[in-house]
Symmetry: C3
Subunit: 433 residues, 3 copies
Amino acid sequence: MDKRTHERKFVRTFFTTPTAVEGEDDSAKMLEGAAGLSGMEAPDVWVPDNEDATAPNMRDEGAQNIIDVVSEYGPDYPGEIHPRVVWHRDSPSTRYQGFQRMLEITDPDNGAVEYIDGFVIPEVGDIDDWKKADEFFTIIENEHGLEEGSLKMSVIIESGAAELAMGKLRDEMGKPTNNLQRMFLLVDGEVDYTKDMRAITPTGGLPAWPELRHNTSRGASANGLIAVDGPYDDIRDVEGYRERMTENQAKGMLGIWSLTPGQVVEANTSPLPPQAGYWLLDADGREVKLEREDGVEVYSGNRVSLEETDDGYVLSVGSDDLEVSEEELQEELLDLLDYVPSLDDIVDSMEEFEAAKESGKGAIAMTQSATVEIDGVQVDVSRDRMWDEATYQALQTPITLFQDVYENRPDQHDDLAELYDEAVVERAMDVGN
Amino acid sequence: MDKRTHERKFVRTFFTTPTAVEGEDDSAKMLEGAAGLSGMEAPDVWVPDNEDATAPNMRDEGAQNIIDVVSEYGPDYPGEIHPRVVWHRDSPSTRYQGFQRMLEITDPDNGAVEYIDGFVIPEVGDIDDWKKADEFFTIIENEHGLEEGSLKMSVIIESGAAELAMGKLRDEMGKPTNNLQRMFLLVDGEVDYTKDMRAITPTGGLPAWPELRHNTSRGASANGLIAVDGPYDDIRDVEGYRERMTENQAKGMLGIWSLTPGQVVEANTSPLPPQAGYWLLDADGREVKLEREDGVEVYSGNRVSLEETDDGYVLSVGSDDLEVSEEELQEELLDLLDYVPSLDDIVDSMEEFEAAKESGKGAIAMTQSATVEIDGVQVDVSRDRMWDEATYQALQTPITLFQDVYENRPDQHDDLAELYDEAVVERAMDVGN
Amino acid sequence: MDKRTHERKFVRTFFTTPTAVEGEDDSAKMLEGAAGLSGMEAPDVWVPDNEDATAPNMRDEGAQNIIDVVSEYGPDYPGEIHPRVVWHRDSPSTRYQGFQRMLEITDPDNGAVEYIDGFVIPEVGDIDDWKKADEFFTIIENEHGLEEGSLKMSVIIESGAAELAMGKLRDEMGKPTNNLQRMFLLVDGEVDYTKDMRAITPTGGLPAWPELRHNTSRGASANGLIAVDGPYDDIRDVEGYRERMTENQAKGMLGIWSLTPGQVVEANTSPLPPQAGYWLLDADGREVKLEREDGVEVYSGNRVSLEETDDGYVLSVGSDDLEVSEEELQEELLDLLDYVPSLDDIVDSMEEFEAAKESGKGAIAMTQSATVEIDGVQVDVSRDRMWDEATYQALQTPITLFQDVYENRPDQHDDLAELYDEAVVERAMDVGN
């Protein structure tokens, strides 16, 4: 993708906090709590949310809370800080309100601006609407003597018009009449998007919107920005949150909204390669992780079964029985098996390819092999995969992300040290440079 | 989405009828039959089809039939009337023919125009081609002393160029040189689209084209229009037609083409919330509706089974057995269960949230609970869902649709009275205003 | 789709070959091997690959090899020849290098240009970047006295920016300042695209990128070009390659990259209708081909079972048992069954419809019937499908492709003669004209 214009090349987590909660003796309590987080519980981007998460009648107080809390906690906060203000493509008064609060929050006399990296603008419409927001940023920077373009702008994609605008951004960015180079995050907002698209599901659950997420990721790629998925409401459902992130990562959307510190931990960890590699078996449509027992990968479910016969094997997948020779068995299993490499494995492969390149080879075969056990029967399987420069670069993304995290989040070094042993971390920081 | 420019905010049904059938003593017979429909059998938009559904050599007679039938039946027809005329991006002569027929049909001396809401233009190409059609509408309005923009224009999206044009419409609409504000429906035409895309399937069945339907729905959202899916050929397959509509609704495409009064009834009913709510169980990948028996939700299939043991339960899904405690069982079941709310349920939740908002609360938890029975074993499950303003608005769509239908289709009040009891209908008309 | 500007209306195969391999006594060996292919092993488009497939230090030699091999083998080569040169949206030096090599390869004094149909440009960015490449083509044509626009340009879509550019191509093509009418193929490059989108999958496998393939196919449709999918790395996995092509064909992407002559044979054959038609049964989510045994279609798996009882039948699909009457059984089976027509079947249906049209009918019912046997129980099923002009045209694509292949690839007549008997081929060449 294009060169990014900002420090962070990756954002895993986008964590929103209400800016003022009624009824508490201290309405900034939640804000202070979030401001004190660090390590895996602290997001890459923290969003004091002066829009939907805060009741309308509390938002002026919320703006003041942002100023107070950020000026106090800002110096030590490990991530970037991007408050969300009110904005709406259909309401000039809402837009003016958002502008006034941004102007106040960034007033150097209030001592918060030096810790604020940018603002999040919700409910944008087509590209001209994005320019209106950008123009307010420019005016604010000029009024407060800040460098033009120094405040980053992130938008929430929650309308069909905004989805289309992502396809036009590249044509507008860099024109002398705007400073859209300040753009940072493209964040999907599926709840309002669902309203805007007038979608209906029988249960009232949110549609998956795969095309929206693809287009957001593509918009980020085409403009050197970072794509972030919207909130995952069912906080109880950790498994579902993980599956959503895996889906997103396959689309190039490496960041996601988090509603709780627990979700932040999950989302900070999810895009990092596992500590130990493992094999997956496609058990009649369900992916099952094999257990490693002294070097053997064991399947213990009953969706797949294997039996040795006098003249070969019988492999049963679901209700299908296959009589196969040993070689056919290996072929069949290879189709069902897949390997998930650890950080260690990835670094190894990259180093191996780099060495091969040094010695003038353009492509080499990487071998994966294992002994798999099903119903007590053991089978050796092995597969080669060709690596060339393109493969190498495509598989480099998790390492580049790891390096970006390690450089920008020293507060997470201890957590990473618990996940991976030191040697791997060092090699991971070296490889590919 | 943007404010619509037309009366109807929703169109559930787009019903086409041949305008002239050869061999009949009265070639307008089918047209008269369709013109006489009312209630659930009458569509929101009726399309006397003077293009594909009518043989080329019968189309002049068809145009005359439209004039005769619409001027006679128009005064009492409950839906909107939008004849389809011939048009093709690659054929000026076809376009001119379509223009001449529109000019004739809308001639005030012929007495039909006051009952005609607009025309449907097939086979459009890129946005400049849409402008050519719009220009003919403008000339016709001017020739006949009709208000500029009073005739609505709907297009059939059946080419890749037209799919792309939907992404440009917003940039062109409102320019002084056109009247594209007259745009009304974006209707997918998958058969010709499949030809245009040169797609091949082994069985000759139509591809599902999920991206096209997403882009059409998005185009409607970004331009204040209404998205309608194409014809479902297999009239016999009612179940498949319903599944297609459920899929479409999750994309924000709430309308669909109907080829028979039977399909019209299905399509008019499909987007309306059910009369009674019910629970769904994900039975190893297949969604099964649970039967309510005196307050208990009973599963009677054999894809999922449940057994009580001394130290807990064994839950079997497909070929997977889980030994779980009661609490774990409830967790597992919650993951498999989903509730489909009735009109009554939705109105309740909305009223509850509105009351909470009155009392200054920004978000409340809505609780769903049930007693589920599997293999005679009963388990109580309960789930909370957080509602905030955004949730409220996103879930309001079916109610807004219901209200739009009720206001615009008095001829369907009796049918709705059979579906829902009066009290619910009254509350549904009240809520959210 | 729009009228194509080139001879070939379809391209099934895009076969790349390294232009210079180090260490061989003759670095052009592979190039010569590929240049000698014919029949089903020869692709529709052959791509001497002077980019990724060839080591950077061998590319000057590779350019010379292209000249030598193409000037020698070109006169007899059965397909089109489109070398790929280096190019990158982010590197002017790479672009200039690509230009210099194109200039050299097309120098009439070198005797290769008359056999070269165009060039493949990788790593393009947005539409202005495409224009830069087009401008070099124009300069080259002018320098060498070739007709402007006579060299075709194909691009590899391997960035989000290029994906978006396909949506703008139609607005730029035909402007007096460019010759983009030379555009020929839109080829997806999923490996680099995955890098550009920064996508991550647990196993390191490539994401399926369905939206990219849809948008590429749409871009081809909207601009009269041809869509081609990227390489399928796992050469061992023939089944997977076939499934990918079937998926692509349903998107209108009828061509695919081939890395070996074996893959070329598969890809040349895949879009052609089968020699003999057959029935498919949806066996609890898995499509199973039925075996024809003296006129009866037999299912011999155990995912579906059928039993005759005193008062009807019991049909078991997976773990669901249905008690049904004979009529209900036929309905159920029709939902599970599908027919894959042979070339013969398709030609029959088209001829039948053409005859009906002659006799003034606009639509006719085509009947498919069969006797199906499950667990020894035989059932007669029959289904009607309505055909109108649109159906006819949408189902004509495989025939148009067959005709295009037959006209442009005489070297494949023998292979086709082995696949189909002469009579069918003759009728297939006649029908639809």
